[in-house]
Amino acid sequence: MTNVDTANLPTRAYDPFKGLGFQLYCELIRLLRNPGFLIPTVLFPIMFFTLFGLPNAKEDIGNGVTVGAYLLASYGTYGMLSTALFGFGTGIAAERGLGWNRLTRATPMHPIMYFSAKIITAMLSGLITLAALFIFGVLVANISLPLETWALLTARIMLGMMPFVALGLFIGYLGNPQSATPITQLIFLPMSFASGIFLPIKNLPQFVQDLAPYLPAYHSGQLAWHTLGAGDNSSLNSHIIWNLGFTVLFLALAVWAYKRDEAKQYG
């Protein structure tokens, strides 16, 4: 038998983010090799905008904001939130279902690295969606906003995405992996509708308008609309606080679900 001399092994500091670069590379080439996911994800918000925003893009809804700009912010938010839930959350659930996560959980890979790579990938694919929509808005609907507003809009839509990244993670680890997509649809579609993401909130029934401020997607939307000067009567800061609150809440639930999962096997 051979002795493994533990004393003489180099003691390297453990880096939880070790491998992040290559994991990220893998996630991105998977995205590029899967046009069946990327193309519909990019086209969906553009399709919504074409249907509901393009016909009356120039119409003023007050405060100098056009229907076109308003709906560009709405569908941009929609694209970002759906990427967080369907790209990130259900993607993790799928790998968990395969047993892949169980294998990586037995390696020195730190889960924080894995989740970081997934989150960055979701943000990048969200940004591609957003850029495509904005370019479409500028070129086809002639929407013009100051460069500064475009930048701020992008940053705030990404901020609004955060609670949904955490929610995606929570749903990804809740219940069995096959249920993640239907659960996500069940939550996301009605919530987007009731938050005024599909149709402006003032066109919705009164009880939905009363409910909206308690929904995370409402505050994500408000972050975008406030940037254009078309927000509700609450302050921008209050929406940021709601957003952070939902992020912390979902993150806590996600950590709970992750720990509870304990590398279960699924047939």
């Binding site: 038998m1 051979t2 002795n3 493994v4 001399d5 533990t6 180099p10 390297r12 453990y14 939880p16 070790k18 491998g19 670069g21 290559f22 994991q23 893998c26 080439i29 998977r30 090799r33 899967n34 790998e95 279902g97 395969l98 047993g99 892949w100 169980r102 294998l103 959980r105 037995a106 390696t107 020195p108 890979m109 730190h110 889960p111 304990e262 590398a263 096997q265 047939g267």
Partner: protein, 297 residues
């Protein structure tokens, strides 16, 4: 001698099912240890606890003296689990390279491909590999970090006889470099081919352990069955070396570790038998034997 892996009074229950009862195991660096037992014996539970995939309900597990639940304490282990699945759209070499990133001093990807006999398949999309090729990929992922301890959970269960032998060679090759290997299997033959110590586990408890020769002498028995005219059964009395005996009408069934000797004796007594059948006993049967021996002690 360095202690590589240790379970200390580890128990695990899932609801009312007790999967592991108070199991203590010490594996020294350089040992090749096989956990042998039927399906549902608690082998996978034991390995999951050693790997930090599960917390024991009571007791503890250590890898080189550290808690395996912490990712950094898994830096020196490589793992092959059952039914891992692979994320879609990644190539074989990409997955291996991804795994090498997790380790401090990994092997070269080309070397790993060679060791796992996957060089020809390096640009194939991993999820499209055949069952046997996938198993080799999992082996590649397990060894690519150049681990000191290799864990293999039922490594050859999906393989045909030929690939199984080739795979054993790959594992032996790795073990010969002085590495520690811990595997689970329900094939006595596999444990015998690979391990220098076999731990027999059944119903969540260690029922026997020892060298392959020792274990084989206890669980390597055969079922001998034949037909004999009903009146002649008396003449089978006091047959040496028979562990278990049963008779239904003309059919005689016995379990023995020395079938040749027993049959010699049967013929020496001048008995006319027909429908002779000698078959390797399943592990279940062998465990019944061991458990009975344990109970009668």
């Amino acid at each position: 001698m360095t202690l590589a892996v240790e379970l200390e009074n580890a128990s695990k229950s899932f609801g009312s099912v007790q999967a592991l009862r108070n199991v203590s195991i010490k594996v020294d660096a350089g040992e090749v240890v096989a956990f042998l037992g039927p399906n549902g014996a608690g082998k996978t539970t034991a390995i999951s606890i050693m790997l930090g995939l599960r917390s024991p309900s009571s007791g503890g597990a250590r890898i080189f003296g550290q808690n395996p639940r912490e990712p950094k304490n898994r830096a020196r282990i490589g793992v092959m689990l059952q039914e891992s699945g692979v994320p879609g759209l990644l190539k074989v070499r990409e997955l291996i390279q991804l795994f090498t990133q997790f380790y401090n001093a990994p092997l070269m990807v080309s070397k790993v491909l060679e060791m796992a006999n996957l060089t020809e398949k390096k640009d194939a999309i991993a999820s499209a590999l055949s069952g046997g090729q996938k198993q080799r990929l999992y082996f590649a992922l397990a060894i690519c970090g150049n681990p000191d301890v290799l864990f293999l959970d039922e490594p050859s269960v999906a393989l045909d006889v030929e690939s199984r032998r080739a795979f054993w060679q790959e594992i032996s090759g790795f073990a010969k470099t002085g590495k520690t290997v811990i595997l689970t299997t329900h094939y006595l033959e596999e444990a015998d081919a690979l391990a220098n110590r076999i731990i027999v586990i059944n119903k969540g408890e260690i029922v026997a352990q020892g060298s392959p020769a020792q274990i084989k002498s206890r669980v390597g028995g055969k079922n001998v069955s034949f037909k004999l005219e009903a009146g002649n059964a008396v003449m089978l009395e006091n047959l040496q070396g028979v562990q278990r005996f049963s008779k239904t009408g003309e059919s005689i069934n016995l379990y023995t570790l020395e079938p040749e000797k027993v049959l010699q004796e049967v013929f020496a007594r001048g008995l006319q038998i027909s429908n002779l059948n000698v078959a390797g006993a399943g592990l279940e049967e062998a465990f019944m034997e061991i458990t009975e021996q344990g109970a009668s002690k």
